[in-house]
Amino acid sequence: MLWICLLFAFLGVILGYAAFRFKVEGDPLVVEIEALLPQTQCGQCGFPGCKPYAEAIAQGNADINQCPPGGEVGVKALADLLGLDAKPLDESFGIEKEKKVAVIVEVDCIGCTLCIQACPVDAILGAAKYMHTVIASECTGCDLCVEPCPVDCIVMTAINPSVLNWQWPEPIQNRH
């Protein structure tokens, strides 16, 4: 009986050493999760940016279906990565919309800089009392600048189909 106890104690010591030797620092999973998020930085998930949300998912504090800009495709990608079941988007965090671009109606702009402060990716250009404008190629369409504008001169506009962003249509399928 003593031998058995000694054996168990010995195994325990090895485990303890292994836990010390192969200690994991940081969480590499966060990086992988963040790479799948759309980086809109819109905060609709309830976290201040995509990285905090990724951290929350990795720690199990947030579900994978809280990102409306990522949409169903994004949820599926996260589910694949984490080996979970894909589920529909949680509508309490917003619904999936077509990506839009903010446009400032320049005649109405009073130059208050409030939208510049709200923009998470510094995509609005301007100075106090001067007209502002949106750098369309850098706008993520997060909507965050619409709310602070005191004169409601920011409109979210759909992106026009052009030869550059046109997609070949998918064939129609007869599915069950």
């Binding site: 995509c50 998470p120 030869v163 550059l164 046109w166 070949w168 064939p171």
Partner: protein, 500 residues
């Protein structure tokens, strides 16, 4: 002496070339207006270099695009520049874009005349510059700027120039006619290109079902004494005229996936491009017209014509006798690789080699009910000329696993349509592949945008933290200055500052 490597896959398609082959190329009339879409081959905008109301002369530069792959556009006839119009362009999407319109005055007054020069006196760089000035792009269909292809620093160890005279798509005969009628001009064009590339060896690949063209070129070689130019006859198998396929067939060299022919020491040019180079260098004419095959059962008089770039298809059709009965589809390019146009108000571009006016006898309307499930017969894999497994790519594409398609070599697909033709279940395979490619391109763009957004967000965060630190520091300094004023002790602030 000449080993022919066998092309794997491919199809023996019915040529329908006799519709237009026997008539010599005639000059098309000057249309009332010329239409130039202001987008280049990759969809980027072109800059207009003339103003509305200007009178332009034939051969004058009217627009250009910037960048390494920039090209120039020349007016095809004299006339007045009108307001830019938002109209349909020659693109598979059927989308609209800004177009430059010239109302011709019928005088066809030539603009700046380039003196014809002796090409043997030109350096390689001079030839490239002149080719660029003449606005020459690949006339085979891809519109890649020719000057870029032959510029010395882009040309790594090239040893062979291949001239593509294998017009493998059904119906098209413009290269065939060119070779029959202008063999010595084409040979001179080849000489110019060989000089630009500083190499000796050139192979012309011509399909075996063009005996007249082979004969004409061979005779011209005899007469001119350009013995280093070889003519090689290739089988009339579609798509032997694909750049990579032809290179493999003639040299046995396989262009690497995602690579260029240059990587295997080959530059490949279309016969039409060679003709344009000849006209630019030897004759001093810029690229304002090209040979277009107008054919199909839906046209009264099928034929080949020298058509000015920008001519509306409507004009061209009426010059060829007009439509012949009800038309099923109007196709720009060939039957296999071309695309349908929703209407005939579109202008001819530099890439337009053929206008196919097809009736219901030639194209069958693919109905959805006809499409049956894949039975895994593997016909598509044996027809594929690039050794892909279309059935596997299709399977992942229809399920939405586009990333997986990529691992099956989706981007090596040349969209030749062989798999479509042989599929007994009538699955529109190429349509699936194109959709998947689009999706993957979109994904790539989105990923790039996401990386940029992430970086900008992080930069903003660090900037905010820094601003906060600086503000606190300022406040502290101010407080210290106050203390210093009140108590007059100079050593205190210095100490505090060190700590902070």
């Amino acid at each position: 002496m000449f080993k022919r490597w066998n092309l794997k896959g491919g199809l023996d398609l019915e040529g329908h070339k006799d519709l237009s082959r026997q008539y010599s190329i005639i000059n098309a009339a000057i249309p009332d207006q010329l239409i130039y879409p202001l987008v280049d081959r990759s969809g980027n905008a072109m800059t207009v270099l003339v103003k509305t109301g200007d009178r332009v002369l034939k051969g004058q530069v009217i627009a250009g695009s910037k960048g390494v792959q920039g090209t120039l556009l020349h007016a095809a006839s004299s006339g007045l520049v009108k307001e830019n119009e938002w109209r349909m362009i020659a693109h598979p999407s059927g989308l609209k874009s800004w177009c430059l319109i010239i109302a011709t005055d019928g005088l066809d007054e030539p603009g700046p005349v380039y003196e014809p020069v002796d090409y043997t006196q030109l350096s390689a760089a001079d030839i490239c510059e002149k080719v660029h000035q003449a606005g020459i792009v690949g006339l085979g269909g891809a519109s890649f700027p020719t000057a870029v292809k032959i510029t010395p620093n882009n040309v790594r160890a090239v040893d062979t120039l291949i001239i593509n005279g294998a017009e493998c798509e059904p119906y098209i005969t413009c290269d065939d006619r060119l070779m029959q009628q202008y063999p010595s001009e084409i040979l001179l064009g080849i000489q110019v290109l060989l000089r630009a590339l500083a190499i000796e060896s050139c192979v012309i690949g011509i399909e075996e079902d063009m005996p007249e063209a082979i004969e004409a070129i061979q005779q011209a070689i005899e007469c001119s004494g350009f013995k280093q130019i070889q003519v090689k006859v290739v089988p009339a198998v579609y798509p032997v005229g694909g750049e990579r396929q032809l290179i493999y067939l003639l040299t046995g060299r396989e262009t690497p996936s995602q690579g260029l022919p240059v990587d295997v020491g080959v530059v490949c040019q279309n016969v039409g491009t060679v003709m344009a180079v000849y006209q630019a260098i030897v004759k001093g004419q810029v690229l304002i017209e090209r040979v277009v095959t107008v054919t199909g059962l839906g046209i009264k008089k099928p034929q080949n014509r020298w058509v000015r770039i920008g001519t509306p298809i409507k004009d061209l059709v009426s010059q060829c006798g007009g439509y012949n009965g009800p038309i099923e589809r109007l196709i720009m390019g060939g039957l296999m690789m071309g695309f349908s146009l929703p209407d005939d108000g579109v202008g001819i571009t530099k890439a337009t080699n053929c206008i196919l006016v097809a009736t219901s006898k030639e194209v069958t309307k693919s109905s959805e009910a006809e499409i049956q499930p894949c039975i895994r017969c593997g016909e598509c894999a044996s027809a594929c000329p690039v050794n892909l497994l279309p059935q596997q790519i299709y399977w992942h594409s229809q399920g939405g696993a586009h990333q997986k398609c990529q691992s099956f070599g989706l981007f090596d697909c040349i969209e030749c349509g062989c798999c479509d033709v042989v599929c007994p279940s009538h699955i529109p395979l190429v349509q699936y592949f194109r959709a998947s490619k689009s999706k993957l391109f979109l994904k790539r763009r989105e990923d790039e945008a996401a990386t940029l957004a992430k970086q900008r967000f992080e930069n903003r965060d660090t900037r905010k933290v820094q601003e906060k630190v600086e503000r606190e520091q300022r406040i502290r300094l101010k407080k210290l200055a106050l203390v210093k004023l009140q108590k007059g002790r100079p050593s205190a602030p210095a100490k505090m500052q060190d700590k902070s």
